[in-house]
Amino acid sequence: MKKNGVKMIKINSKNVDVFYGKKQALFNINLDIEENQVTALIGPSGCGKSTFLRCLNRMNDVIDICRVKGQIIINDFDINDKSCDVVRLREKIGMVFQKPNPFPKTIYENISYGPTIHGMAQSKNEMDEIVETSLKKAALWEEVKDRLHEPGTGLSGGQQQRLCIARAISVKPEVILMDEPCSALDPIATAQIEELIDELKKDHTIIIVTHSMAQAARVSQNTGFFHLGELIEHGSTDKIFKNPENKKTQDYITGRFG
């Protein structure tokens, strides 16, 4: 999407290196993410695409031995800077994981979790409204509106993943990170999630890691190709899939390796 013909850059990463202990996992990544677009990160297993994704909301902090170098600038602010408040950052940048991970609570509590810890609702009515809009946005409302107080773990895999998406959007994040969100789902649930992603990009910037080239081609406007910890090529999805510059990208996309 272009505003006045200029691409709006939401996230700007400069010279990002990531180390797990002594092993370097990412080498000098420079990648710009456009606002209100879907950016797909593709590449063979272990290429570092998930690691990069986890840099964007500092989830790598959770791993003791992980160190991140370089700048990741979101809204003119370097999130790797010491002054960055991780709680605020993660409120702005939501995440959906590979395996659906609803909390062992009711559907309602799963959604109200984020708004509660960020103090977003002043009253029960407000909270009800947040829960309803989040579930509606995640295209789950019709299926669960009568059983909001049943455990979220009782839903099917596809529903659980949409519940996790609803949970992520409940705090109105600017960016949503998705780490192979469909890899544990069947084709029908996958199609529903992909449709949802297309819908969500109106309000959110989406970055999705995927193993499925077809999925990347279907849902994304931009694509980055990672290989062995390096960003080999990035650009518009059309260009990457139809006319890649790099031989490795072409080989990967045509299924010659990976």
Partner: protein, 461 residues
């Protein structure tokens, strides 16, 4: 004699294993395919050795003493002896034959003892002969029978299954046996002491039962107001409550620290250190409570003008709590660690802090396991004996003042069963009644614990 026989059978077992395997190899070398690996043929033969041996050993163990006794006492039949007297004669005979008889030796008994010895040696040698001939016959039969297409794997597997089944059966039957021994003594007790008096009576003074001379007839009325168990039930739960007040907060918090906050290095050293607490014998805790904590509390209390008994419920309960800490902390640490990392990630990704994540996601998810560990701690507290015997006093006071001494079920059982006692005496049987109540209480606790864990398990996933 039995030992030599046993060694011989074991050697025979190994030999038959060896022969079975060798036969299998021989069959194999003639280019025939075996139905099982060669060692199964070996095991098969060894089983043919073990089962007859086991049967004969048990037959002798069951019937030999009875038959020998019958033969010895047949000499005394028709002489007008009572059953008790006959038993006494038999015991004297056995003692004399072992050279341990100290009383007056009559010629009758001497003759019996000689007969006893000769009968025993006949029994033993007949056992040896029968055993060896049957085993060798059965192994030889099996050896001849096995061929390239005989089934050896299935019998061996079935045998192993039977052995494992017997082992688990033994554990269960022992429990059942314990329960029954409790039940019968308890029933006898309640024939003398009304159940109502036991459950609702408020005065526990079993020493009073000593006054009775055993030759006198049993007069139930003299036991009224002697076996009222309310004070010791109250004491038991009170001390357990004090213990849990100490153990639950400290144990849980240290468990949470170990699981969520401690670095790998700290955890590596701290966890074994806490678990060492669980390895300290309870006697040691007991004199820590009785000689250190008790007097210390008394001194502090006195300096504040409080009347503190040197043996107080507080000292016993507090030290018991310390003893239980490692159970709760170690178990809840395990439970919390096993909460999937994906839930933590999900919570952190929402912007939750560590404490929010623990409070709202991890703790609820781990709750069934934590409740289980707490209930386990409660059963420990109720069943704990040594600390209360040493530190809480033995007088069964009905009180809710933690500074006074109280007594518990376990401590009273110890008091009753130490020193002189007579079977069939209500005082001794009172111990069984108490044991039965203790058993029922812990049984209920375990059932509740299992229910709770089961109810929440589905939420766990």
């Amino acid at each position: 004699m039995n030992l030599i026989l046993f060694t011989f059978i074991v050697l025979l077992g190994f030999t038959s294993y060896y022969f079975g395997r060798r036969k299998a190899y021989t069959i194999q070398s003639t280019n025939k395919r075996l139905t099982a690996l060669p060692q199964f043929y070996g095991y098969y033969l060894a089983i043919w050795c073990a089962i007859p041996a086991f049967i004969i050993f048990s037959l002798w163990a069951i019937f030999e003493p009875t038959i020998v006794k019958l033969l010895i006492l047949s000499d005394y039949s028709n002489q007008g002896y009572l059953d008790d007297e006959l038993n006494l004669i038999y015991e004297k005979t056995k003692a004399l034959s072992r050279g341990q008889f100290t009383g007056e030796i009559t010629p009758f008994i001497e003759a019996s003892a000689e007969k006893y010895l000769s009968l025993r040696s006949i029994a033993q040698s007949s056992k040896a002969v029968i055993l060896l001939s049957i085993i060798i016959a059965s192994v030889a039969y099996a050896y001849k029978k096995i061929s390239s297409n005989s089934r050896t794997r299935e019998p061996v597997e079935k045998f192993l299954k039977a052995v494992l089944f017997t082992a688990s059966l033994a554990a269960i039957l022992t429990t059942v046996g314990i329960v029954f021994s409790l039940i019968f003594q308890t029933i006898d007790f309640f024939k003398v002491i009304p159940l109502f008096d036991f459950v609702f009576g408020t005065h526990w003074y079993p020493a009073k039962a000593f006054v009775r001379d055993s030759s006198e007839a049993l007069d139930p009325t003299m036991y009224s107001d002697t076996f009222g168990a309310v004070p010791i039930f109250a004491g038991t739960f009170f001390i357990a409550f004090i213990a849990m007040c100490v153990a639950i907060p400290i144990g849980l918090m240290s468990g949470i620290y170990l699981a969520e906050y401690a670095s790998v290095k700290v955890r590596q050293y701290a966890k074994p250190l806490i678990e060492i607490l669980a390895g300290i014998p309870t006697v040691v805790y007991g004199f820590f409570a009785a000689l250190t904590v008790g007097p210390f509390l008394k001194e502090i209390g006195n300096s504040m003008g409080l009347d503190v008994s040197a043996e107080s419920a507080l000292a016993a309960g507090g030290v018991m709590g310390i003893m239980i800490i490692p159970f709760i902390s170690s178990l809840s640490d395990d439970v919390i660690t096993s909460v999937p990392q994906s839930l933590r990630d999900g919570s952190y990704a929402m912007g939750a802090t560590k404490s929010e994540t623990i409070k709202k996601v991890i703790f609820p998810a781990a709750l069934p396991g934590i409740v289980g560990s707490i209930l386990l701690g409660v059963s420990r507290a109720i069943g704990e004996t040594m600390i209360v015997v040493m530190a809480s006093g033995l007088a069964a006071n009905l009180t809710l003042n933690p500074l006074e001494s109280t007594s518990t079920i376990t401590a009273q059982i110890v008091v009753i069963l130490i020193g002189d006692q007579a079977f069939g005496d209500p005082k001794t049987q009172a111990a069984f009644a108490l044991g039965m109540s203790l058993f029922l209480v812990t049984l209920c606790l375990n059932i509740v614990a299992l229910r709770v864990v089961k109810k929440y398990r589905e939420k766990y996933e």
